[in-house]
């Protein structure tokens, strides 16, 4: 049952990320992955909040559904590194490097912010 719920909430997270990407592309047509960066930062922030509140709690199912499911689906590691690789291939070295360096720092910042809000 937990596995099914985790997968369902993972699907919801992916849909929310797609909606981010769709909305950004619709209003600001661009190849640059602003929406993916935003989804990763938001997902990391929610994960920080949920991790502080839920890790160690008795409700392992809620923890798995929120952290592994929703936050796991909302964030993506594959696009966060595949898109900079492709951008680099198209000779936009500086932009690619900026994405690779700033995305983890931004996500770490949001994760800590989430934990601070939960504290």
């Amino acid at each position: 049952m937990t596995l099914l719920l985790v997968s369902l909430f993972g699907a919801v997270g992916c849909v929310v990320r797609y909606l981010f990407e769709y909305a950004v592309r619709r209003h600001h047509p661009t190849q640059r992955p602003w929406a993916t960066v935003a989804a990763n930062a938001l997902g990391s922030g929610i994960a920080g909040y949920a991790a502080y509140r839920l890790i160690g709690s008795a409700d392992a199912q809620l923890r798995d559904v929120v952290l592994t499911g929703f936050c796991g689906g909302l964030t993506t590691f594959s696009s966060a590194f595949a898109i900079p690789a492709i951008i680099q291939r198209e000779h936009h070295w500086g932009y690619s490097l900026t994405l690779i360096v700033t995305t983890p720092l931004l996500c770490a910042g949001f994760f800590v912010l989430g934990m601070s809000l939960a504290h």
């Binding site: 596995l3 985790v6 997968s7 369902l8 909430f9 993972g10 699907a11 919801v12 997270g13 992916c14 849909v15 990320r17 797609y18 909606l19 990407e21 769709y22 592309r25 619709r26 047509p29 661009t30 190849q31 990763n40 997902g43 990391s44 929610i46 994960a47 920080g48 991790a51 890790i55 798995d64 952290l67 592994t68 499911g69 936050c71 796991g72 689906g73 909302l74 964030t75 993506t76 590691f77 594959s78 696009s79 966060a80 590194f81 595949a82 898109i83 900079p84 690789a85 492709i86 680099q88 291939r89 690779i100 983890p104 996500c107 770490a108 994760f111 934990m115």
Partner: protein
């Protein structure tokens, strides 16, 4: 790239369904693979930070970056970001099977055991992501 920025209602519903289906399967696979490594340690009182390294997630993320890069440079190269195949596979499946937030949750747990260890694992994850992307591009270099 931005040729199909706005979708018709039916296309939009199809795209959302593709993201959901890919995300469901990807998350299911990630959860199963991570749980395979979830057996309690026999010497749990002597847990060091090296025991907490999330190897399954690091490997899943590396393979996910590698395969996503290969697909985006190969079969999905000229597909619009709203193309159903691309949404199903890249946004849904690979987005669901890999996880950025899961990595931070694991890093936070390592942080309590070793700050240096946590930074080392974080740097390793970034290097593995860059390496996955670089290896994914290799096939198409002449």
């Amino acid at each position: 790239m931005s040729a199909n920025a706005t979708l018709k209602p039916r296309e939009f519903v199809m795209a959302l369904s593709s993201a959901a289906l890919g995300g469901f399967v990807g998350t299911l696979l990630r959860d199963l693979l991570i749980k395979l490594d979830d057996f309690p340690s026999a010497t749990s009182s002597l847990v060091t930070w090296t025991h907490e390294i999330p190897w399954p997630l690091l490997i899943i993320n590396f393979v996910g970056v590698f395969l996503a890069t290969r697909l985006l440079r190969g079969p999905l190269r000229h597909r619009d970001p709203n193309n159903l195949s691309r949404v199903l596979v890249i946004t849904g499946f690979f987005g669901g099977v890999t996880s950025y937030s899961g990595l931070f949750v694991d890093l936070a747990q390592i942080w309590h055991l070793s700050v240096g260890g946590s930074i080392l694992v974080a740097l390793g994850a970034i290097v593995s992501g860059v390496a996955g992307g670089w290896l994914g591009l290799l096939e198409w270099r002449r």
